[in-house]
């Protein structure tokens, strides 16, 4: 009995905190999404009208901006996930060798993860600057054409993508390195009798054994980029036009800038919540067994 009281005394403060500050706001936001609430106006209950307007179920076409910003978000999520996985795995493979000062170099490589994304966006403004930025200077030095990073739509899309990739590659690196270090060395020793090719060793031993970690980290990366807003906010302000506006950014503008359409913005946000719930259910079905 006493034991039981202790059991819940430890757990409950955290549970209550999340009920109050996450689940209650989420419930409230669901309700707001069912109204036509704007700041300074009475809210009226309109059922699922916001949703049918956004999704175009009411017959006069959906919300074009929601669609195009969702498109850019998908580009960013897929592009950044695949590029960080490739680069991070490669760097992890490099560091899984006998290298002096591994600890120090590993520490430097993880630094971008801890930098405020809002600041990195501004750093991107300086680095991708068309005339003075080092990126264009390096391209020119290599005999490649200079890129109009902020004027051309694809330039801007890739500037946002590369900044995100730069920040998050270290994340994939540390996870994959940990997974590689868990592979028993004798597996390689016996395989080396058959082949000297590093590629074959990677392909047939390392890769199959790190594949589960790669799958898990891919899901985490997808979720993280899918929420992205800080980097496009400071790097491109969503421009040129709104080609680099993410879905989160669009929702933010809809609800919290200008006409403050909180009802419609909540409905927009809720569509994201649904996707987030699906991805997180999938994610935790993969990893949660070890929490038992």
């Amino acid at each position: 009995m006493r034991n039981n009281r202790a059991k819940y005394a430890f757990l409950m403060p955290g549970v209550i905190w999340i009920l109050l500050f996450t689940l209650f706001p989420l419930g409230y936001s669901f309700y707001l999404g069912l109204t036509d609430f704007r700041l300074g106006r009475e809210a009226e209950f309109i059922g699922f009208d916001n949703y049918s307007e956004i999704l175009g179920l009411d017959g006069d076409g959906g919300d074009d901006k929601a669609l195009s910003t969702a498109g850019f978000t998908a580009f960013l999520a897929v592009g950044s996930t695949s590029m960080t996985l490739l680069a991070g795995t490669f760097i992890a493979w490099i560091f899984n060798h006998d290298i002096p000062f591994v600890k120090q170099m590993r520490a430097i490589i993880t630094m971008p993860l801890f930098a405020a994304p809002i600041a990195l966006g501004f750093l991107g403004v300086v680095i991708f600057n068309e005339t003075s930025g080092p990126v264009n200077n390096i391209l020119q030095g290599l005999g490649l054409p200079r890129v109009n990073w902020f004027i051309s739509p694809w330039g801007a899309r890739f500037a946002v993508l590369f900044t995100d990739v730069w920040q998050w590659t270290p994340f994939v690196f540390i996870v994959v390195l940990a997974a590689m270090q868990g592979i028993p060395e004798d597996l390689f020793e016996s395989a080396r009798l058959d082949t000297k090719s590093n590629w074959l060793l990677f392909r047939h031993i390392t890769f199959p054994l790190i594949a589960p970690a790669l799958g898990t980290v891919a899901l985490l990366r997808l979720v993280e980029t899918f929420k992205a807003i800080d980097i496009p906010f400071s790097l491109t302000r969503g421009g040129p036009g709104q080609v680099t506006q993410t879905y989160s950014y669009y929702t933010y503008e809809k609800g919290l800038v200008g006409s403050f359409q909180l009802g419609e913005a909540s409905a927009l946000a809720y569509l994201m919540v649904i996707v987030a719930i699906i991805i997180s259910a999938f994610y935790f079905s993969r990893v949660s067994a070890r929490f038992e």
Partner: protein, 293 residues
């Protein structure tokens, strides 16, 4: 996780191929430099005069004449007040949020590691961690309205609440994993000696948790320090944290690179230094259970 020192003691995958070794070290240096140079570029630009700030040069004294002007402007005179105030706000918000998240995370983490709950521990842990998956724009709108009702807009307690909420998963995860490794015999022998669960936690488990507590504290602090989205909506005057100042750098006369990079360097220095102190816990703390770490 095999520690790095263990790995380097073991014969490496490649140690027979000595010629390849130099190339591998070269690649490792390139990767390290790739992570580092944007920071170096920001630092060097922050010591430039306005007129030199867009000329593409990088080496002070050789290529351009460095100046402390940007740093003096940021910390001295009229601008200095705003800087110090924003840094103070950031520090207080991050400290408060870290304290709340670490206390709640330690208690819940201990419970989840030591007891079995009816709904399933793995479901509870997943439930705690899944807060990290939610898009912040979904909760920021209800927070504006609730905070307006509760008079928490632009206040320290309000900012602490939002930051503690979104860093709590880090704390729960780090502390649960830590307590899960805590030897059960220690706890059981103390219980046999008549101590109750709370005494065991307070006198035995907690004093042996310093490294995990430090890691949880530093990671929560760094992520609260960097938070921008909630701050931009919920604290735009008195309790404006430093990232808000960074975000406003381009408002006056377009972007002055020398000035923006100075603010950027200020914003990233503290969390980056903290990250160097928690290397051992980064994998565990940031990956939401993806790897055991």
């Amino acid at each position: 996780m095999a520690t790095i020192s263990q790995v380097s003691e073991a014969p490496s995958q490649r140690s027979q191929v000595k010629s390849g070794q130099t190339f591998i070290i070269f690649l490792a240096l390139v990767a390290t430099f790739m992570a580092l140079w944007p920071f170096l570029f920001a630092i060097t630009t922050s010591f430039k005069k306005q007129i030199d700030s867009t000329d593409g040069t990088v080496i002070p004294w050789v290529q351009y004449e460095p100046t402390l002007l940007n740093w003096q402007q940021e910390f001295g005179g009229g601008g200095g007040d705003a800087t110090f105030k924003a840094l103070r706000n950031s520090a207080l918000i991050a400290l408060g949020a870290t304290l709340v998240a670490t206390i709640l995370g330690t208690l819940s983490g201990y419970g989840l590691a030591r007891f079995k709950y009816g709904v399933g521990n793995k479901n509870l842990v997943s439930w705690f961690l899944s807060q990290r998956f939610l898009p912040p724009v979904a909760t920021v709108i209800p927070f504006v309205l609730l905070f307006k009702e509760l008079k928490l807009l632009d206040t320290l307690p309000g900012m602490i609440i939002v930051n503690a909420t979104f860093t709590l998963p880090f704390a729960v995860l780090i502390m649960r994993d830590h307590f899960a490794e805590f030897p059960a015999e220690l706890r059981e022998s103390a219980l046999v000696d008549g101590a109750n669960e709370f005494t065991v936690f307070w006198r035995i488990a907690l004093p042996l948790s310093t490294p995990a507590l430090v890691a949880s504290t530093l990671i929560c602090f760094a992520f609260s320090w960097n938070e921008f989205l909630f701050a931009s909506v919920l604290a735009n005057r008195d309790w404006k944290p430093y990232p808000m100042l960074v975000a406003g750098s381009d408002s006056v006369r377009g972007i002055m690179f020398n000035f923006v990079t100075t603010r950027m360097v200020i914003a990233v220095t503290l969390p980056v230094i903290l990250s160097l102190m928690v290397q051992r816990f980064i994998v565990r703390g940031l990956t939401m259970g993806a790897v055991k770490g």
